[in-house]
């Protein structure tokens, strides 16, 4: 049973009953843990057509077998549910220390079901588990909630995952924040938590987790640590500049979406780059549980110290909104963290609103005196606040860019896939990445198979970004491997330094298995297909494997990638074939049988 605690907490918020269940270890291994295992429970227990914000939906906090172990970066956990934003399976990943604490308390997973009559929070202190009243913190910001609940339970070392006002108000782009600054950000998981009147989960765990083979684990971990230390990305670039080191790389390639993807290059990128952030605003690095990389940024603006912003956040609020003002971007990021909003979706929705305003669809009388003009620092800060508080047009914007643009009859101006806002790369100039985001089970997401790595960064090898040759195969392997890393409980950034065989060695040493790399990848493929089957049952048809019209029809107007469009129509059939699916994009019975689902 090493690696797993062997226990699940099932919390019925309707009647207040809390049960401990025994985890079937063979089942856990089949789906690895984390994202994979929780998705299995959702597919078994939540009918796919369930109202995502109704009592029938369930919300699962799920750690992996390496979460809380001595493995470097082994602190990740996933929040899995049906997404109220996209209607797809949602699995939102976060770092920090919360996941490890949950494992140290003795649990692999918490399954929340039903809906509490009044605001509540769950308190776990090893074997003591209780639902408590959250009346005092309902309506409060994330940092105030976190501090108040730690004080209330009287455990300084407790870890808190909480929603802010955005989740309470059922914003479809609401996040769940742990340790104030780490986010299970995407897909509106915070709204599901809010719909259940669940304000927070507070965990204190004092147990220790042993590997199946401690000596072997020590040896494998030593080797992996050495690779992380030898890799320039994990040892130098990320610690020095954070994820925002990508700003200039992506811009110089001409795939840096600017003004709601109307353009893909800006001469002003460096004003809000990772280099500038480090030079002017960085106080110190921060690190998640057992992380030797420490890419987190503690920044200070106007006397306020807080963590972030990350690359994707900087892009969403800077280039995508045409704002080259780092203090304003940092303030908007801080507001997202306090209200509990996904920074990518929030920034991208403001960018979409700016285009709607520029095109005359949003009228001045809707704006309360704060014009949604591209380039306005005031707009990105104030409209983030209005989205978090649900004020005026901000309430509509808090439902995400798709619903906003659709309400003005221009859904195509939402730069999203399956209603989830696209991140900071223009698919027109990077073909594999475009295929990846078009086919990702949770919608427009970059971290379900980061093709930017080989296509732009040259890792683990360089492949031509504008070519479509061989890309379907790359996408499949990256998607499957990522599903495994997410399920193990490790940070994706380790993949800049280590490969599938290393993850396999870590899994084997900690869990006590003798899997091959191929078996681990097959588990990833199993997870991917299971997610796909949930989406199909939920009515998300393969025709939703698409990109915004702009990205396949309108060539990039200027910059190094001028003239390029995404060739999705050519790539999709190759991808379905590579996956062993029907020509229509559906997993066939033989494929599912081969994967054991």
């Amino acid at each position: 049973m090493a690696g797993y605690c062997g226990k699940i907490l099932r919390v019925n918020l309707t009647d207040g009953q809390i049960k401990q269940e025994t985890l079937d270890i063979s089942l856990a291994k089949k789906f690895v843990g984390g994202r994979g295992l929780a998705t299995y429970f959702i597919t078994q227990e939540v009918p796919a057509d369930t109202d995502a914000l109704g009592e029938g939906n369930k919300l699962i906090f799920s750690a992996g077998p390496l979460t809380g172990s001595k493995v470097p970066t082994g602190g990740r956990y996933m929040v899995v549910t049906k997404s109220p934003l996209s209607g797809t399976i949602a699995s939102s990943n976060s770092g920090g220390f919360f996941g490890a604490e949950l494992k140290h308390a003795g649990y692999d997973m918490i399954i929340f079901e039903g809906k509490s009559e009044k605001p509540c929070y769950l308190y776990i202190n090893d074997d003591v588990v209780e639902l408590k009243c959250a009346g005092k913190v309902w309506g409060k910001m994330v940092s105030e909630t976190t501090d108040a609940l730690i004080a209330e339970v009287g455990e300084d070392k407790a870890r808190v995952a909480a929603i802010g006002p955005a989740g309470e108000k059922l914003s479809l782009i609401a996040s769940i924040m742990n340790e104030k600054y780490r986010a299970a950000g995407r897909s509106g998981v915070g709204a599901v938590m809010g719909s259940k009147n669940l304000k927070a989960v507070v965990v204190r765990g004092t147990g220790k987790l042993a590997a199946a083979d401690e000596e072997k684990a020590k040896e494998v971990i030593k080797g992996v640590m050495e690779k992380i230390r030898q890799c320039d990305v994990t040892a130098k670039g990320l610690p020095a500049y954070g994820t925002a080191v990508l700003v200039n790389v992506i811009n110089e390639t001409g795939i840096y979406p600017t003004k709601n993807f109307m353009e893909a290059y800006t001469s002003r990128a460096d004003e809000t780059s990772g280099e500038t952030l480090a030079d002017k605003y960085l106080v110190k690095n921060t690190a998640c549980y057992r992380c030797p990389i420490a890419c987190g940024r503690l920044c200070k603006v106007d006397g306020v110290e807080a963590e972030g912003p990350e690359y994707e956040t900087i892009w969403a609020y800077s280039a995508d909104c045409g704002v080259y003002d780092l203090p304003a971007v940092i303030k908007a990021n801080n507001l997202c963290n306090e209200y509990g909003l996904d920074t990518i979706s929030a920034g991208a929705t403001i960018a979409c609103a700016m285009e709607l305003y520029e095109k005359g669809l949003i009228k001045d009388e809707e704006l309360d005196g704060v014009p949604l003009e591209f380039g306005s620092s005031e707009a990105i800060v104030e409209w983030t606040r209005k989205m978090g508080a649900g004020e005026g047009l901000g309430a509509k914007m808090a439902m995400g860019s798709y619903r906003l643009a659709e309400s003005y009859g221009r859904a195509e101006l939402s730069m999203s896939v399956k209603k989830l806002e696209l991140p900071a790369y223009d698919p027109r100039g990077v073909q594999g990445y475009g295929l990846q985001v078009a086919t990702t089970n949770r919608g427009g997401c970059h971290v379900r198979g980061y093709l930017i790595s080989p296509e732009i960064l040259g890792l683990p090898e360089s492949i031509a970004r504008t070519s479509i040759e061989g890309k379907a195969g790359w996408v499949k392997v990256f998607q499957d491997l990522t599903a495994v890393i997410d399920s193990l409980g490790m940070c994706l950034f380790t993949s800049f330094a280590i490969g599938a065989d290393d993850y396999t060695d870590l899994f084997n040493a900690v869990v006590g298995e003798e899997w091959t790399g191929a078996e681990l990848l097959k588990a990833g493929e199993r997870i991917w297909n299971m997610e796909r089957m949930f989406n199909l049952a939920a009515g998300i048809e393969p025709c939703e494997d698409k990109l915004p019209k702009r990205l396949v029809d309108e060539p990039i107007p200027a910059g190094p990638s001028k003239g390029q469009v995404h060739r999705l129509a050519e790539l999709l059939p190759q991808y379905y074939k590579e996956r062993g699916w029907s020509e229509e994009g559906k997993p066939c019975a033989e494929k599912l049988a081969a994967l054991g689902i």
């Binding site: 670039g237 954070g242 200039n248 790389v249 280099e275 690359y311 960064l457």
Partner: protein, 74 residues
């Protein structure tokens, strides 16, 4: 002739962000890096006019050479 050289991340330390560098006809990317005393082993990403380039690439007047150490994120 001149080429525009853009340096990023740690390559800026003690050097510059952007500069027109004098070269001669036939100069390669590697030649320019040598002139700037940038160790080849530390280079992660090279671009000429936004396209991935090799050290052997011959530069033309007006080319934009972007030089990054190995970086990643996301």
């Amino acid at each position: 002739m001149t080429v525009e050289v853009r340096l990023f991340a740690s390559f800026r330390n003690g050097r510059f962000k952007m500069k027109d560098v004098e070269t001669e006809a036939g100069y390669s990317v590697g030649d320019v890096l040598g002139k700037l005393e940038i160790p080849v082993a530390e280079v992660g990403i090279l671009m000429v006019n936004g396209e991935s380039a090799a050290f052997e690439r011959t530069l033309a007047a007006g080319d934009v050479l972007a030089v990054f150490p190995a970086v990643g994120g996301g």
